[in-house]
């Protein structure tokens, strides 16, 4: 594909920042690299978060971010527009992140095909009401750390399904397609992931927990 120049298009009169993703993709396909740079700026925060959640490692996540964007750029000519650009980018990122994770844990096989083990009722131990507004107990940065640590402590087969369904808000079918697993597998893993996270977060968000901050007074 061409790598520079601005193609003649009615869209090109519009500033790049005001174009929707589909128009930016068309501009990129026609050779406008700045249009792809705008797509990167628009989506880099969410893609970095996704990569971090799957790999569980900041350095790997940054590599995955770069590899995913370059991969998308190389193959943008094949992007037919049947799905949204962002969903396509998510698929590329998930694949890159899983490859990275497998490489990192070469001694421990990372598989998304493992059967779900055990009963879900084993996952419900903590029964405690939460604060109505846990976000007032913790700073935004503390909240992010608590939420990120909780996700990253899950097994890859659970956290990957959770981030696609509940953070990226892909549908059950899109998640199944992206991970090449069945819809029932997505559903059972999602339930286990949600229940495990609920259990982990209860330690931080249970009612009265915030009062501990004043225990030293």
């Amino acid at each position: 594909m061409a790598t520079s120049g601005t193609p003649p298009s009615a869209e090109s009169a519009l500033p790049l920042a005001e174009m929707d993703d589909a128009a930016l993709v068309a501009q990129t396909q026609a050779g406008n690299v700045d249009a792809f740079a705008e797509l990167m700026r628009r989506h880099d925060r969410k893609i970095l978060r996704l990569a971090r959640h799957i790999t569980g490692n900041q350095e790997d996540a940054e590599d995955v971010l770069q590899e995913s964007f370059l991969n998308a750029f190389s193959h943008i000519g094949n992007f037919a527009g049947n799905s949204k650009f962002y969903t396509w980018l998510v698929r590329i990122t998930v694949n890159q992140a899983l490859m990275k994770l497998r490489k990192r844990k070469s001694d421990k096989q990372v598989s998304l095909d493992e059967p779900v083990q055990g009963d879900t009722d084993d996952l419900v131990r903590e029964i405690a009401v939460w604060d109505e507004t846990p976000e007032r107990t913790y700073s935004q940065e503390e909240m992010r750390r608590i939420l990120d640590d909780a996700i990253e402590s899950l097994e890859p087969i659970y956290r990957t399904v959770f981030v696609l369904r509940d953070v990226e808000e892909l549908s059950t079918e899109e998640t199944a397609q992206t991970l090449d697993i069945s819809v029932p597998a997505v559903k059972s893993r999602l339930l286990r992931a949600r229940l495990q996270l609920r259990e982990k977060l209860t330690k931080f968000f249970r009612r009265g927990k915030g009062d501990d901050a004043f225990a030293f007074l």
Partner: protein
């Protein structure tokens, strides 16, 4: 009435609002009468809310610059 185990089986569909009306009514009845399952429902719902409400971190400027350099290198504009 649903058992607590049945309730867990329907929890995702109830939270995602994909359960049919009959299941919805059964789950609602169960959590109205079972305080422990109400807590599980309420805290799982809040788990999803806190994740959905969390904005991603800003990408450091140094990383953005690295991405742009890599893109331009790929195009053969530099390097």
């Amino acid at each position: 009435m649903l058992s607590c185990k049945d309730f867990l089986g329907w929890l995702n569909d109830y939270l995602d609002e994909t359960a049919d009306d009959q299941v919805k009514a059964q789950v609602k009845e169960h959590i109205t009468n079972c305080p422990n399952c109400w807590v599980v429902y309420d805290t799982t719902k809040k788990t999803l809310q806190v994740y959905k409400g969390m904005e991603p971190r800003e990408v450091p400027e140094t990383l953005r610059n690295r991405l742009m350099e890599a893109l331009l290198k790929k195009c053969g504009k530099t390097g």
